[in-house]
Structures are given as structure tokens and as C-alpha cells.
């Protein structure tokens, strides 16, 4: 299968005093078309930073990001879902969803359709005219997802989108995300702290270690998705990734 995201010897550094604080270096990560990849790792390893470089919000220090998304003026190649929903409080729900549509070449009628379609997709049809403050945390995050889907991106980057939600809302949204992914065939790179979530959602789980940050391991999850919540195979897989993460953390503490 074709790779839709491929980073090549990617490094990110932030200016600090006279020099640079290097967050990671020689990082090679790829996502295939239509694949759902989850990324877990030692905290501080730069998971969110990686998403931001791929989204072109931060420039790479070394290396490059290759995206294989055909240029299409009616879409954006990439959209991002953030940890806190980060809706603009002064825009109604419908206007928040169309944030990314404002600058692209689609007629107003199509924009309206996209807003309605994505609202339906996230189960909030008819919410266009509400203000963000009138929504619950879970609803806000759904709008954050709808905002990303509205630009019809080939790639969806998700930065711990369910991290701030309660367990029940989170489980519901995980299943909804899987359904949306299966309906829309997006390629997803999903960062999370929660290993069960990573194993539940991903086709492949990447484990990021630090000092320097690198992919310690990757796990192909060969368990049927409808079997995942309770099957023994699923639980074994979760344990395996957990063990891998603990080992990576021990290594990180040892060398640091």
C-alpha cells in the first residue's frame, strides 16, 4: 500500500538561549493510505510535536515530511483534532465547523451541506446555531472532530482528542470515531496516553521512546475490531504494549 505520510530523518528543535533544544532527531514514521495508526510513548518524547510538524505548524529542524495527498482546491490535505476541543467561543457551532472551509474554494451551498453532513456524522444534527458554551465536553469534542472532517482531509491528525473526557463519553466517542473512519476512509494518526485506547483503535500502534526520541517498537493489531474490547487476544496485546512502554521509560530514566 502507498504511504500517505512519511517522515524522513525528521528532527525538531526549539531555539533556547544561544543554542537549540532538540526534541527529537532521525525520526522515521509512516502511515499508509486508509490506515489507522496510534502513537503512544514516554511523555515528553514529542508526540504532539510530531503531529504539529506533519501539520506544518512547526518547521522541521532537519529532515522532511512527505505527504502523498493530491492537490484539490475544495479540500485540505490535513486536518487536526486537538486535546481540548478548542472551539472559537465567539462562533456558533456551524461557524466553528466551517472554520477550515472559509479559505477554500467551495461555494456557500456546499459549505452548508458539509456542515450539516459532518454534524450528522458526529451525531449532533441540528446544532448549527448553538454557542459552544451551551455544549457538554463530549459534544464540544465532537464538534472539534466535525470541524476537521468538514474540510474532507485525506489525513486526520488527532492529539489526545479524548484525553480530557470521562470514561463513558470516551468509550462512546472511540466507537463513533471507528465508525466514521470506516465510512470516510481517512488515514489517521492518533496520539494517546491510553494504551488500551491505542490498541483498541489502531491497525498499528507505534511506541515512541525518548533520548533521543525514536520508534522503539511497532505492534500490528491483528484482532478483529468487534472482538477488541473483551477478547483475551486484545488484553494480551495491551499487556505487551504496556510492557514495551515500561521498558522504554526505564531506559529513558536510566540514561537521563
Amino acid at each position: 500500500m502507498a504511504k500517505i505520510i512519511e517522515t524522513q530523518d525528521l528532527a525538531v528543535a526549539f531555539a533556547e538561549g544561544d543554542g537549540h533544544n532538540i526534541i527529537f532527531r532521525h525520526l522515521n514514521v509512516s502511515v499508509e493510505k486508509g490506515e489507522f495508526v496510534t502513537l503512544v510513548g514516554v511523555s515528553g518524547a514529542g508526540k504532539s510535536t510530531l503531529l504539529r510538524v506533519i501539520a506544518d505548524l512547526i518547521p522541521p529542524y532537519e529532515g522532511s515530511v512527505k505527504l502523498d495527498a493530491a492537490h484539490d482546491p475544495t479540500r485540505r490535505p490535513i486536518a487536526m483534532v486537538f486535546q481540548a476541543a478548542l472551539l472559537m467561543p465567539w462562533r456558533k457551532v456551524g461557524d466553528n465547523i466551517s472554520l477550515g472551509l472559509d479559505g477554500i474554494d467551495v461555494p456557500a451551498a456546499v459549505k452548508k451541506e458539509r456542515v450539516e453532513w459532518t454534524l450528522e456524522l458526529v451525531g449532533l444534527a441540528g446544532y448549527e446555531d448553538r454557542w459552544p458554551y451551551q455544549l457538554s465536553g463530549g459534544q464540544r469534542q465532537r464538534i472539534g472532530i466535525a470541524r476537521a472532517l468538514a474540510v474532507d482531509p485525506a489525513i486526520l491528525l488527532m492529539d489526545e482528542p479524548f484525553g480530557a473526557l470521562d470514561a463513558i463519553t470516551r468509550t462512546g466517542l472511540q466507537d463513533e470515531l471507528l465508525r466514521i473512519w470506516q465510512e470516510t476512509h481517512k488515514s489517521i494518526l492518533f496520539v494517546t496516553h491510553d494504551i488500551e485506547e491505542a490498541v483498541y483503535l489502531g491497525d498499528r500502534v507505534l511506541l515512541l521512546g525518548d533520548k533521543p526520541a525514536h520508534i522503539v517498537n511497532e505492534y500490528h493489531i491483528n484482532v478483529d475490531r468487534d472482538q477488541r474490547r473483551e477478547s483475551e487476544q486484545f488484553l494480551l496485546m495491551v499487556d505487551e504494549v504496556k510492557a514495551g512502554l515500561l521498558a522504554a521509560m526505564a531506559l529513558s530514566n536510566g540514561s537521563g
Binding site: L57, A79, M88, L99, D102
Partner: protein, 250 residues
């Protein structure tokens, strides 16, 4: 507390104050020019209106006030926003603002007269100074406090140019702060308007000095209440507009 109870008690407070004042004024303890009873004020109002003085003075004051308000607000908000957006300008203004800000608007009166003479421009200039500083600092703070994460969101969704970020995130995000600065300036303006007129520019302040020279204290009080009324009305209208603009807030 029920809101009807609240209204009732507020009315009791105001009416009680007027009654006590009336009682003391009529007790003969003080000469009426020292403390005129409030019951003489409506008559003063009627006679001032009949002679056409009240309208002229109020309109004149409103004129300097509006010019000063618009001037001070536009410059204050404009420069405050700019300073907040560019760290180099921010650094450049830091000491300058610290030197100029503590100078009270009324300390500018001599220069206002030297520069503009005894004119409406001089009064508007003095009024604009206090309003300028309030708006300058609140607009600066409001822009600096805009959520950086929302700027990143806007960038992630394709709004990367500076004007786009200004329009989509920075100004709407700073709007609550900017509006509260404008509202504070609205009050500050009325405080300086009278003082700015004391040196002879036509308006409420000038009429008050004139009336006090004639020991017509009830006329002085009439204009004191006129200012309170004008301030009350302008603030009320402002809050209505503000609520409309900030309908997105809880």
C-alpha cells in the same frame, strides 16, 4: 433575593436619601445656598429649559465629550492592540508609557490652552487623554491574553496570514476586554468633561461655575444630576450594545 424586592429596596434607598436631604435643608440649620432642598430642583430645571440654557449646555458638553471619547478610544484601542502584537514596539513604549501615564488629564489643561486656545478642541483633547490611557492598557492586556491555542487552531485550518489571524482570532478574542475598556472610558470621560469646561469652554461645567458664582446652588445641583443622568443613559445603551456583541458569552 427576588428582583422585585431588590427594585423596591433600591427605590426606598433613593427616596429615603432625598427625604432626609429635604428635611435637613428645610430645618433652617443651613442657609439655602449651602444646601438647597431637592424639591427646588425641578423648578430650576424648568426655568433653565425655558430659557434654552440647559439644552445648549448639554449639547455643548455632549459634543466635546463625543469627540474626546471617539478620539481617545480609537487611538487607545488602536495603539494598545498594536503594542500587544509587536514585542519590539511593546519594549519601546514600556518606559515612555510609565512616564506619561501617571500625568492626570487635568494637568494637560495649560498645554491644551496654549495649543488650542479656549476652544472645544481643547476640551475634547483633555477628555480624550484619560480615555486614551484606559483603552490603551485594557486593549493591550486583552490582546496579550488571547488564547494562543486558538491561534494555532486557526493556523491549522488554513488561516495563516496576519490579517486573517487578526480578524478570525485576535480581535474577537480580545473583544470582551476591549469593550470593558471602552465602557470604563465612557465613565472616565464624564469625570473630566466638567473640569475641562471650568476654564470657560461652553458646557455644563461652565454653567455650574457661573451658577455657583450667583449662589444659585439648586442650579449647580441640577447640572450635577444632569451629568449623572447622561452618564447613566450612555452606560445603559453601551451595555445593551455590549451584550449583543458578546452574545457568545455565558
Amino acid at each position: 433575593m427576588k428582583s422585585s424586592t431588590r427594585y423596591f429596596l433600591s427605590a426606598v434607598g433613593l427616596v429615603g436619601f432625598l427625604l432626609i436631604w429635604e428635611g435637613i435643608a428645610r430645618s433652617g440649620l443651613f442657609a439655602t445656598y449651602l444646601l438647597p432642598p431637592p424639591s427646588t430642583i425641578p423648578a430650576a430645571l424648568i426655568s433653565e429649559i425655558r430659557e434654552g440654557i440647559w439644552q445648549v449646555m448639554v449639547v455643548a458638553s455632549l459634543r466635546h465629550y463625543s469627540v474626546g471619547f471617539v478620539l481617545g478610544s480609537v487611538l487607545g484601542v488602536g495603539l494598545g492592540v498594536m503594542v500587544a502584537l509587536f514585542p519590539r514596539i511593546e519594549a519601546g513604549q514600556a518606559w515612555l508609557a510609565r512616564v506619561l501615564r501617571p500625568i492626570p488629564p487635568l494637568a494637560w489643561i495649560p498645554f491644551a490652552i496654549i495649543w488650542f486656545g479656549i476652544t472645544e478642541t481643547a476640551a475634547a483633547f483633555i477628555i480624550s487623554i484619560g480615555i486614551f490611557w484606559i483603552n490603551y492598557f485594557t486593549a493591550m492586556g486583552a490582546v496579550q491574553a488571547v488564547d494562543k491555542d486558538l491561534i494555532e487552531v486557526a493556523r491549522a485550518f488554513g488561516h495563516r496570514s496576519f490579517p486573517a489571524l487578526l480578524r478570525k482570532v485576535i480581535l474577537p478574542g480580545a473583544a470582551p476586554g476591549i469593550l470593558s475598556g471602552l465602557r470604563a472610558g465612557l465613565g472616565q470621560g464624564w469625570m473630566t468633561v466638567v473640569a475641562a469646561e471650568l476654564f470657560g469652554i461652553q458646557g455644563i461645567g461652565q454653567r455650574m461655575i457661573e451658577a455657583s458664582g450667583l449662589l444659585a446652588s439648586n442650579v449647580v445641583i441640577l447640572y450635577m444630576f444632569s451629568i449623572a443622568l447622561l452618564y447613566g443613559v450612555s452606560d445603559y445603551v453601551f451595555v445593551l450594545v455590549q451584550k449583543r456583541i458578546l452574545a457568545w458569552q455565558r
